[in-house]
Symmetry: C2
Subunit: 330 residues, 2 copies
């Protein structure tokens, strides 16, 4: 089963709602100038798993009901996500994403910069349709966090002084923020109490962060066919992820120096050795344990959320991600 | 006098307000994560002329008064403009802008993609602070227009079938839209009548479009020191501007074929000859006449706007741009 097929299974409860979201996303592409529509359609169709829309919808169900605004919320978070993917692929000079050529591979970097901008501004235009300007503010705030997180990540590539707290801060911003706003606003739209809204925000933030750690683990310990990329690609880009930070922390000084050398410019073979080392030394396992602890904290947020089938679905999501992480535990 | 020094002189009426806008723009940079602040400060300080903020403020004065919201409007339009410049410089692989290294020259394309995104999302976050969500909607709509216009322009580089109406559509989107929203919302914030708001919108759209034609003329007929770039750079990038479209329109078939060849891949020397030809055949002059006609239409919009010193300042702006265009008339 590939990376997120398991997560998708847990969306069964909202299958028909997700179908409606899909239709709306496609309709958004048609709102663009005909000269631009084709690019937008390609970008929104190839992104895939719709995890953030699903969370927005389920958060709505758990805190009241899934109303029309929840569909708009789902579309907005997905368009922002799609915009960041288009720009990420430029940054990474990626040729493919989920088996499809990326926008930059098809049409070049210039067009892809603008395509990301189009998706982004369109998302925020949609967001301006919400009755409460607070929705808009929080959404733009999240988008701003995502970009700032990506800047810091880019800035600190190959920076061997990156600390574990620095890593958390980066992934909370670049990944957590959009998950957080999806679940937070899902509750906010239902006029849930401040404590429920805050709990749902923390739920999204922690779930998203754990999901990012899973993704980072997958880059080291996954199998290449399912990860859809060569293992160790983060390392080659100078992205120091949690398992690597743990590996550095627990290495003897001479070993550490050697690892640093490989990170700064090792051959493909040396990188592959480093990847195996991250597994054999238990560094990957430690990262898995951390993510699983994070998921327990995620689940604790549900204490203040009414018990219903959407509440159960959120628990199911946690269990699924926990199981996905479990594959890589020792 | 350089390109916009003359325009700046006409801003005298709002000197102290523009100073306050400058302070606010700098304060916005400080709202970012400390790791990001330095990049943002650089990007917003190097953009320069503050034409869009000035128009937002003067439009406010002309239709009522310049209130606190006008300052926010001025900052938002300028941040959106700054975001597009950062991304434009990536598209054009530009090394300098107004004598300073561009963000991409200093920090590379990856960081610049993200920096533009940061500026953009921050602008829209600020815009969400307006009491009316209509403000936000129109602002995001304008941003979306700008990006779509740039996509179409990129898509149609070196496209010899580009028509004059196609050209207008592109520049109205990529340049006119942000000017239009600055003046429109300047009036909207004062709760001006729908006809005044519509007139101010058209004022901005036409003024911005004429300004873009001036910029396009400058690329052919300016002097290199003041234009801040080599003449004919639009041609080298495959951007067919109004004077070139006029030149193509009025050339004999054989001449036309030769011009097309040069556009598609002429040497620097051939491009320089083409630039001179655009001047000697009167194609540049025709574009100047068109822009000046557009400015007369811009001025007509002021008929419904109350007579006051800001109304006069808007007229002064038109006169100034008209004079700047006049340098290139035969």
């Amino acid at each position: 089963m590939n990376k997120t097929a398991a997560l998708k299974q847990t969306f069964e409860l909202i299958n028909s709602e997700l179908y409606a979201v899909e239709e709306r996303i496609r309709a958004q592409a048609r709102a663009f100038d005909p000269a631009v529509e084709g690019y937008v359609t390609y970008a929104v169709e190839s992104t895939g798993k719709r995890l953030r829309p699903a969370l927005a919808l389920i958060a709505g169900g758990a805190t009241g009901n899934i109303g029309p605004d929840h569909f708009d919320l789902a579309v907005v978070v997905e368009l922002i996500h799609a915009a960041t993917l288009v720009h990420d692929d430029i940054l990474d000079s990626a040729d493919t994403r989920r088996g499809q050529p990326t926008a930059n591979a098809k049409w070049g970097n210039s067009l892809s910069v603008l395509l990301g901008d189009c998706l982004f501004s369109h998302a925020l235009k949609l967001a301006s349709g919400f009755r409460s300007s607070e929705m808009m503010r929080r959404m733009a705030e999240a988008a701003s966090e995502v970009c700032s997180g990506e800047i810091i990540q880019t800035q600190r590539r190959f920076d061997l002084k990156l600390s574990v707290p620095d890593y958390y801060r980066i992934i909370e911003m670049k990944t957590g923020a959009l998950f957080a706003v999806a679940t937070e606003l899902g509750a906010f739209l239902n006029e849930a109490t401040p404590s429920v809204i805050a709990a749902m925000r923390t739920f999204g933030l922690k779930f998203g962060t754990a999901f990012q750690i899973y993704d980072d683990v997958l880059d080291l310990a996954g199998d290449e066919a399912n990860a859809g990329k060569t293992l160790g690609s983060d390392l080659r880009k100078g992205k120091l992820t949690l398992p690597i930070l743990y590996l550095l922390q627990h290495s003897e000084p001479t070993d550490r120096d050697r690892i640093c050398e490989i990170i700064l410019g090792g051959s493909d073979e040396e990188i592959a050795t480093l990847v195996r080392k991250a597994i054999s030394t238990g560094a990957v396992n430690s990262a898995v344990l951390t993510a699983r602890r994070m998921l327990r904290e995620t689940e604790e947020q549900l204490r203040v959320v009414p018990a219903n089938r959407y509440h159960d679905a959120l628990k199911g999501l946690i269990r699924t991600l926990d199981g996905m992480l479990g594959q890589f535990a020792e």
